[in-house]
Symmetry: D2
């Protein structure tokens, strides 16, 4: 694999996404074969029907396996050091095109069809957009896998939901944008009567975010890692990761290389903090939804003043910070009646999800330890 | 044991409550020994301190083990057939007084101290009220055990929370009712900083209720069992379970006996439905919180009309139905600062619990199968 | 269902066997489609190939679901009270023929094909014998389910093995009985390279037997239940369960009815012991394999003498007692080379299984409690 | 911590050993307080009894936490690059003496007492030898933790045994070496009647070894890592890890540093194989116990000849290779009668363990991939 450093974990996750995506694909087909064929623009009487299904299934599997292959060291924490506006999906696509092309074509896989499931390309069409949502959407295999996998390895019970019920409850919906017979897109959702599993997933996501991903120590290490990486870059004379034209260079940057630099003392002050586990200390934190709360904002202002000459980092978690966690994404419910799409947040029996769909606004103040 | 019929499950649950209550007792003592001694009215310098703690601990264990010993067959479903106003706790107390007295006294256990932990008695005082809340309160061992045990045996992931984190997060609070130094009661809660485990328990409770305990098929069997029991009573010439004066008779009524009567065909029409698994069928259900929703109420009225001559049961789930599930109970948060008590529902970071603390108002219409 | 009494557990188990059998069927087909077709005598080019596979699959599912429907109350403990030489499978077959015929034929299921998967019938042939082994054989769905299900509900870790690895490791072998090209039967086994999962299953089986099924208290309750049932039979004037000609009578005997009789005091002395949990007490037990050990046999003789006038039951566990647990069954290994069959017990890397395949010979002496 | 590179896993394991060791300590004390005091040479009437117990308990906890702190990168795979005859425990001891002394003494912990629980020192006596066996012995906390932790994170069910039953079954035995009243040592074992948990642990150990630790791919990576490390050493001009006099240097060698060197291409040919996941391929393997099998030895000779000019590594697993896994260690059984010690392998009901206690002799031939 390309990134040996964290490949154990990320590779394991990628296998999990492939498996989860496959099970979702199979379950949707089994549940409503006609609609599924329609979503894939396959004619029900097409003699090559099964072969086409197999081809799409394989493309989904490969795209699921490789969708994260472009990540820089330290995943999202490294993304800030890309040349402006590049996203990790673009690296994934270029890496597949350059390094996986041969092996994929040997197996008669169309590389461009695969990459169109990872990011929008010239080949993208309604079918690929639909299949993409299996890997990366509201209810995707990526998120389903990391919630379960993280909570398992962390040993917590936060992200737990019933995978089997989830997969069996998935369904296809027609989301209308007009009155015409064909004015709709296909959308993946869950059966209306199984709305509780949607609530369960949103709760799992909410709990993992507030208790794990936004944990005050985890957040400050993201910062130390970013700054230590900048210092390494400074010493080796670069300002950002090699860009898309320099893929051969880019893929050399893996977790092992960067951790090796830190261990060699090239990570500067922040590298030292990482090596010695002397991370900056959180001395103040607002509540989770501070934005709308005037008292909280006043208190924060006072605290910022108090630590004016001492704080090393003000960490703000807001809607833009959390965008990639997709915390505010609603989930589609599919009615058995004509497969109409509605939203979990509007479901009268699912009132509990609304608070969890709001974007947090949390600020923390950190200072150095003595 | 007294009720062999369902004793496997109920005995297993009782052992679980005993273990859970013991762990809660030990954890509270370890966390804040001084406060715990104060709550038990033991002087810190009392030479017999450890002995007194041990005595209370043993009483809690025994009361936890025996607190449900008075249940009639089919637990709560049978309670409607007690002579008016008797509650199952009173049977528990009398059964302990009559059948367990000898063995308890052999072990130097004061029977009256034990029963004062199950229901209010003449010996009840602030200490026993406090200890009672370990077994049956907002955050009790009974509920903690059944949520986890039921979800385990059902094979669902609804009632899951982290038992170890829960127990370690428990704390003692002082709930004030006046300004004086001593104007407070001791209350069991969880550390404010661990509020998420409180949210977790409320979510587990909410999910078990809506998905399991209020399940439309489970509810109708409660009804069939009640009616079949009435029919058996009719045939053997009694109108309710033997009352507290006739304990020897009462304890003969166990699940085995009643199921035997049903199998002998003495349960009438409802007994037949149970034997043949031909339970009445739910043809209409409102949403979970229908009370405040005018449309829902109108729809229900129309549906009732529609099934006017056909329905066999209108099942209303409302605040009184669910009282023993304590769905609307808030949870106390204990501040590290002077162990002050606040409420989870008022905690700014716990907004998600409010919807779950509301009492449901759900109505279902059932008809007979052909 | 026919036996409401214990239907919860047995019904749950039956669903489990159906699911396990289906997964095994699908896995074998997927692994080696040609061989699987051959085992089912389906021609590879047969146009109705998929339909025939579906029909067999459905028959397996139904047979798996219903194979235990003929059990008397208390499962195997009740089998001694059948009229001589009847086995519970025969009741299953007759119950299916009489009570399930209509519903099965409505779904175009051939009842005789189904029953030929449960016991040998006139329709039995090599295909049905092969499919039967999925439900009841060396490596059957029945045993795989009960080992896992029992250990789950008991909360022990004895019967645990990895279900998914087990199913994926299954394979089809050709067991030769002559030199001719067609001188072989099809046999279900596991891939030779996955022999460890076979060892794992044998260990799980061994541990469940010695720690759970042969537990000294469980064994004596089997005896008390048997004797209490005899006493009930005595009082209602029968000497054994209604035989195959009196099915309508037979199916009235379920756990509820018998437990009801016990609760009504009709189980005599042994019924009392069950009701009061005062089972006889084991005062002496030999080692697990006592037969070959002269010292053990002498000691047993002495102990029997010692308790001569006191013992109430000598419980002997030997090869005939344990026959239905199939503890001595070997497991087939399938070589990738021509799918040849060998045996786990002969596999040079699996020496650990030999001790576990021996039939135990254990004797215990019980006396009454005072 | 000292080794940030793999500290996540190793730190997690160390916390686990500390917890497991503490639970074992507490359980042994609770089970037989008098004998436990005797084993610690504390007089039953000693007024400072509880304080002394606490001190020993704390020493055990700290030693358990720190016992592996001296490991080089890649744990045991790195041990071959120590200056001759040094063992990792000696590094642990010196690291504790040098870097942890201050903090331990601040907490009134006697550093020499702690290190005497990790390796034999001048302060070692019968008490410290006894306590050491809790951390590293036949039935130690180290192994109990890694079997369970590895199988959990690997997602396999091989190393599973019931931790709670294990801990509750532990007991203290007196192992006699003479006839005199005091001619015995204290030994940790398990209750004779719970021998099955001992069998269970030996089976878990056997399965983890054969399926995980001796896995053909895992073994070859150990080799590649060793050779790549040698190449790095060659380039930076050292021949082995800094020895005990150069601790400040030694502790700089952590997994991060070494992986960084590999990522920088300094690991030579073997480093390349690791980076590109092109490990050598196993082309032949004997059975597990090949030593006693003449046929196997002849076959091996022929295969070695066949690959004479092609093989890159002959990997021999034998009693010396596996010594640190302690696969051949028996387990003590403690009789309730005078706490006499016997051995699991001699227990008449535990015949199944004997095959698992033999030392494997397995040889594999590897060649390079093209």
């Amino acid at each position: 694999m390309v990134y040996p450093g964290s490949s154990h974990t990320r590779f394991e996750h990628s296998l999990g996404v492939m498996e989860m995506g496959t099970r979702m694909f199979d379950s949707l087909y089994k549940k409503n074969p006609d609609l599924f064929l329609e979503a894939l623009s396959i004619k029900p009487k097409d003699k090559n029907r099964e072969e086409q299904i197999k081809k799409y299934r394989r493309n989904v599997r490969i795209a699921a396996l490789l969708h994260d292959v472009g990540h820089s060291p330290f995943s999202h924490a490294g993304e800030e050091l890309f040349e402006s506006s590049i996203r990790h999906e673009q690296y994934s696509v270029e890496i597949i095109r350059k390094y996986f092309k041969d092996i994929l074509e040997k197996g008669n896989v169309d590389v461009e069809q695969v990459v169109s499931l990872i990011t929008e390309t010239e080949q993208s069409n309604s079918v690929s957009i639909f299949l993409t949502s299996l890997i990366s959407g509201q209810l995707d295999a990526d998120r389903a896998d990391y919630l379960l996998r993280d909570s398992y390895h962390l040993g917590v019970k936060y992200g737990v939901f019933d995978k089997d019920i989830f997969i069996e409850s998935m369904n296809l919906g027609k989301k209308r944008y007009g009155e015409g017979e064909l004015d709709f897109n296909f959308e993946i959702g869950i059966d209306k009567k199984a709305h509780f599993i949607g609530e369960n997933i949103i709760y799992a996501r909410y709990l993992m975010l507030t208790q794990v991903y936004f944990h005050k120590v985890r957040r400050i290490y993201d910062y130390h890692v970013l700054e230590a990486t900048k210092e390494v870059f400074n010493q080796i004379g670069i300002s950002h990761y090699p860009n898309l034209e320099n893929l051969d260079d880019y893929i050399k940057y893996d977790d092992w290389l960067m951790l090796g630099y830190f261990a060699q003392g090239k990570g500067g002050k922040h590298g030292e903090k990482i090596l010695n586990r002397k991370h900056d200390k959180c001395v103040y934190s607002t509540i989770l939804f501070a934005e709308a709360d005037k008292d909280e904002k006043d208190k924060l202002t006072r605290e910022k003043k108090k630590y004016e000459n001492k704080f090393t980092k003000i960490d703000e978690i807001n809607s833009s910070t959390v965008s990639f966690y997709k915390i505010t994404d609603d989930i589609s419910l599919i009615d058995e009646n004509k497969n109409q799409v509605s939203y979990l947040s509007k479901n009268p029996d699912s009132k509990i999800v609304n608070e969890m769909l709001q974007s947090p606004s949390l600020t923390r103040i950190y200072i150095e330890r003595e």
